[in-house]
Amino acid sequence: MSEVLDLADAGAVHVATPAPSFLFRLGAALVVLSLVLMVVGPWITPYDPNRPTFEISEPPPALTAIPGLLWRVITGAPHDPIHWFGTDSSGLDVFSRVVAAPRTDVAIAVGANVVSLILGSLLGLLAGFARPWIAGTVMRISDLIQAFPVFITGMILVTFAGRSNMTIVLTLAFLYTPIYVRLTRAEVLSQRTRGFVDAARVLGKPEGFIALRHVLPNALAPSLIQASVTIGFAILMTAGLSFVGAGVRPPTPEWGLMIAASANELIQGEWWSSLFPGLAISLTVFGYAAFGNGLERIYDR
C-alpha cells in the first residue's frame, strides 16, 4: 500500500507543431513580397513609372543576353539603359510599372478586406448573439448583397460613386462583408455553447464581455484564413475593374490598366507589356490562395 503512483502529475506536456508544407512557404513568401512592394515599390523602381523614356515599344532583352547584362550591372560597367520587361507603346518602362503597381492593387485589396473583416466579424457576432429578428435582418441583407453578381455590382457602384481609390476600397468592402458575416456567425454559434463561455457566465460576466473577450477571438480564425483568399480575389477584381475602365484612373501604375492599355498592341506582337502584369496578378493571387490554404490546414490540426 505504501508505494502508489504520484497522482498529482500535473506538469506541462510538449505539443508538437506540424511543419508547414512547401506550397504554404511559397505562398507566404509571395504574400510578404507583395506587402513589401506595396510599401516600397514606387521608391525602388529603376525608372519613373509615370515618365516615358525615349525607347518606344522596345522588347525585353533576349534570354541569352541576360547574363551579360546582369554582369555589367553588377560590375558597374557602362551600358545602355536596360528595360528588363521592355517598354510599352508610350515608352513607359514595364518593369518599373509592374513593381510600382502593388502600391495600388495590394493596398486596395488589403484595405477593402480589413474594412470588411472588421465590419463583417462584428456584424457576424451580432447575428450570432442578438435576438432572432436582428440576426434575421442582418443575414437577409447579407443574402441580398451576395445575390447580385459581384463584378457587375462593383462596376455600377464605382461608376456612380466616382472613380477614386477610396470608392473602390469601399465598394469591395461592401461586397465582401457578407462573406465574413456568414463565417463569423457560423463560428460564433458553435463557440457560444462551449464550456468556457458557460463558465464565464457562471462567474457573472456580462454577455457583452463574453462576446468580445471569449467568443469573438475564438471565432475569428476561419475569417482570417478566408481573408487571405479574398485578398487574392480582390486584387483580381481591382485589376478587372480597371481593365473595363471602371477602376483606377490612368496613368496610375496598375496591373489591370497596364493590360488594358496594351491589349491592342498584343495583336501586333508586342506581348511583353501585357504578359508581365498578367503574370504578376496570377502569382499574387496564387500566393494568397496557397497561403490561406496552408493556414487552414495548420488551424485544422
Partner: protein, 588 residues
C-alpha cells in the same frame, strides 16, 4: 481448458511509433476457453496492441519484432492475403464505436452475412438466415425485423450486439474486444457484457477484453494483464490480482476502494429546489421533451448530493437550471435566503459567484487562447493577483510553472484541476460538478476525486455531484438521488441507495453496477433484477409510472396512475407505492 496448447501465444512483440516504442517486448498466452482482461491507463499501448495482434498496424506505427502465434500459425509471418483470411474466421475484433464500425448504407443482416460469406461458401440466403440466427442467439427479440434494419434505426446497445454477431459469425477461436462498452449506459453495458460472457463460455472460445474499467475485469475475466508505458507489468489470476495487485498503477486505482470515510455534513440547508420543471420544445413539431419533471431536493452546507441516472435522465439539465444557464419553466430554487429563479440580472450576477460549476469536458471549459493565469485572474476579478493565483494552483495540486501555460499544453487531468481552481477562486458555497471525471483516465479520475474531497474538507463547500459513474458517486456523496426520465425515483443516504435500493429502477441500476471485486461478480448473483425492453422515449411518455412497461413488479394500477415521491419508513423518498408497502411489511 481441456487442450493444453494455447489459442494465442504472443512473444516479444514490439511496436514502434517513429522510433518511440508504444508496445515493448510484450508476451501473452491465452488458453482455450479463457477470458483475459488487459488494462492500463490511457496511452499505455492497449489499442496499439489490439491492432498489432490482428496485423492491422498502420503507419507511422511499425511492428519491430516478435511473434503472434494463433493456433500454431504465426500471423506476423503470413502475407497480407492469408492474414485477411484468418481475420474474422479465427480471430474476431470488436471496436469502441459501434455505429462508426457499421456501414450506414447496408442493412444490419447483410453486414453480418457479408462477414460470414467471406469465410464460408454459402449462398446469400443462407448467410442472411445465419445472421438472423446469430441475432437471435444474442437475445434480440424479433431478429428478422432487426436484421432488415439499417444501422441508424437501431439503438447503440443493439449496434454493439450486431458487432458481436459480426465478430462471432464464423465462430472464431479468439475474440479481441477493445473498450467495447465505452460510451454505453451502465445497464446496457451489463447486458452486453453478460451476453458476450455467455457466448464465449458456451462456445468454448477465448477472449481478450481490453478496458480501463477494473470493475469489468473483476466481473468477467479469469486473468488480468496490466500494461504500463507499453510494457507488461502484471499478469495474474483475477482473484489474487484484486487481493494484492503488484504493480503501482493497479494499486493506485484499487486503493480508492478502501477509502470510504466521509465526514458528516452539517444539517443546515443551503439549496432548496421545489417542483422544478423544464420542457424543451422540439423544433418543427408541436411535441416536446420533458427533461426535468417535478424535481425537488435540498443540499445542506458542506454536503454532497450525488445525482445519478442514465443518459437522457435530465440530471445535467437540473444542474444547469440551478446555475440559470437554462431557464426553468416552473418551480422554485432557493439558495441561502435568496431566490435563484426570480433573481434580477444584477442579483443573479452576485449569486452566481457563490454558485460555481465544473463541466465534463476539461479542455472545452477553458478558453484555448488564454493562459492559466488569465483564466484564474478572470475569476478572481483582481488585477492579476500573483500570490492568489499561486495559492489556487497549490490548492489544486498544480506546479506553479503551469501558470504561464495554455490549456492545450496540459493533460486532461491538469486541465480539470485548472477548472476546479477557477471554480473555487471565488470562494463559492456550492459547486455543481457535472460529470467532472468522465473524460479523464482512471488515474486522473481518482486523483480528481481525492482533490474534490480534500477541497470540501478544507473549505466546507457543498457539491451537487452529477454522474452516471456509480463508482465515483459512491466515493463522493453523502446522499444520492436516482433519476429516471426527468424524475427522481429514489432519494436517500448513500448507504440506503447503494446497499439496499428500494425502487425497481435503482435496483436494476445498482445490479448493473460492476464492482471492482471478484467476490461480488454480477454473473454469480442470482437475485438480479433486470428491466425488460427499452427506455421509453421522453417525447411520448407513458400515462402512469414511467417504469411500468419495464418493471418486474408493476401492478395494473401502475400503468394508469403516476407514482408520487413518498417517504419510506426509513426516511428516504421513493417513487413507488408497492415498494414502500413491501418495506413496511418487512419491518412489521
Amino acid at each position: 481448458m481441456t487442450d493444453s496448447a494455447p489459442v494465442l501465444d504472443v512473444r516479444g512483440l514490439t511496436v514502434d511509433y517513429g522510433g518511440r516504442p508504444a508496445v515493448e517486448d510484450f508476451a501473452l498466452t491465452i488458453a482455450r476457453g479463457e477470458i483475459v482482461g488487459l488494462t492500463g491507463d490511457s496511452g499505455s499501448g492497449k489499442s496499439t496492441l489490439a491492432l498489432a495482434l490482428l496485423g492491422l498496424t498502420r503507419g507511422p506505427g511499425r511492428i519491430k519484432g516478435g511473434s503472434v502465434v494463433l493456433e500454431g500459425t504465426d500471423l506476423l509471418a503470413l502475407d497480407e492475403a492469408s492474414r485477411r483470411e484468418r481475420r474474422g474466421r479465427d480471430i474476431g475484433l470488436i471496436v469502441q464505436n459501434p455505429r462508426g464500425a457499421l456501414s450506414p448504407l447496408h442493412r444490419v443482416g447483410q453486414q453480418i452475412g457479408a462477414v460470414y460469406r467471406s469465410h464460408q461458401t454459402v449462398t446469400g440466403a443462407q448467410a442472411t438466415a445465419h445472421a438472423v440466427d446469430m441475432l437471435r442467439s444474442l437475445g434480440l427479440n424479433d431478429p428478422e425485423r432487426r436484421a432488415s434494419a439499417y444501422p441508424h434505426e437501431i439503438s447503440g446497445g443493439m449496434a454493439q450486439r450486431v458487432l458481436i454477431a459480426m465478430a462471432l459469425g464464423s465462430g472464431p477461436r479468439l475474440l479481441v474486444a477493445d473498450e467495447p462498452t465505452s460510451g454505453l449506459d451502465v445497464t446496457i453495458q451489463a447486458q452486453f457484457l453478460d451476453e458476450m460472457w455467455r457466448t464465449v463460455r458456451k462456445d468454448g472460445s477465448s477472449a481478450l477484453l481490453m478496458t480501463q474499467d477494473l470493475g469489468i475485469i473483476a466481473n468477467y475475466c479469469d486473468r488480468v494483464v496490466v500494461l504500463q508505458n507499453g510494457r507488461r507489468v502484471e499478469d495474474a489470476p483475477t482473484q489474487s490480482f484484486y487481493a494484492a495487485p503488484r504493480d503501482s498503477y493497479s494499486r493506485s486505482i484499487l486503493a480508492l476502494r478502501k477509502e470510504e470515510v466521509l465526514p458528516d455534513a452539517a444539517p443546515s440547508r443551503l439549496l432548496e429546489i421545489k417542483d422544478l420543471r423544464k420542457i424543451f420544445p422540439l423544433r418543427g413539431s408541436n411535441k416536446h421533451v420533458q427533461a426535468v419533471d417535478d424535481v425537488s431536493f435540498t443540499i445542506g452546507r458542506g454536503e454532497t448530493l450525488g445525482l445519478v441516472g442514465e443518459s437522457g435522465s435530465g440530471k445535467t439539465t437540473v444542474g444547469r437550471c440551478i446555475l440559470r444557464l437554462v431557464e426553468p419553466d416552473a418551480g422554485e430554487i432557493t439558495f441561502g435566503d435568496a431566490s435563484v429563479t426570480s433573481a434580477s440580472p444584477a442579483a443573479l450576477r452576485g449569486l452566481r459567484r457563490k454558485l460555481q460549476v465544473v463541466f465534463q469536458d476539461p479542455f472545452d471549459s477553458l478558453d484555448p487562447r488564454w493562459t492559466v493565469t488569465d483564466i484564474l485572474a478572470e475569476a478572481i476579478e483582481g488585477k492579476s493577483d500573483k500570490a492568489r493565483i499561486a495559492e489556487l494552483l497549490r490548492l489544486v495540486g498544480l506546479r506553479p510553472d503551469v501558470a504561464s501555460a495554455k490549456p492545450r499544453a496540459l493533460s486532461a487531468g491538469s486541465q480539470q484541476r485548472v477548472n476546479i481552481a477557477r471554480a473555487i477562486a471565488v470562494e463559492p458555497e456550492l459547486i455543481v460538478l457535472d460529470e467532472p471525471t468522465s473524460a479523464l483516465t482512471p488515474l486522473a479520475r481518482i486523483a480528481t476525486i481525492r482533490l474534490l474531497r480534500d477541497i470540501q474538507a478544507r473549505l466546507g463547500v457543498s457539491y451537487l455531484f452529477i454522474s452516471h459513474d456509480l463508482n465515483t458517486v459512491e466515493h463522493m456523496s453523502h446522499r444520492v438521488a436516482v433519476m429516471y426520465l426527468g424524475q427522481i425515483v429514489e432519494l436517500g443516504t448513500r448507504e440506503q441507495v447503494f446497499r439496499s435500493p428500494l425502487h425497481p429502477y435503482s435496483k436494476a441500476l445498482l445490479a448493473a453496477h460492476l464492482v471492482a471485486d471478484p467476490s461480488r461478480r454480477r454473473v454469480d448473483r442470482t437475485d438480479i433484477q433486470t428491466l425488460s425492453g427499452e427506455i421509453p422515449s421522453p417525447i411520448d411518455l407513458p400515462r402512469g409510472c414511467y417504469l411500468a412497461s419495464r418493471c418486474p413488479v408493476a401492478l395494473a394500477s401502475c400503468r394508469e396512475q403516476p407514482q408520487p415521491l413518498l417517504p419510506a419508513p426509513d426516511g428516504r423518498l421513493v417513487r413507488c407505492t408497492p415498494a414502500i408497502a413491501s418495506l413496511k411489511q418487512a419491518m412489521h
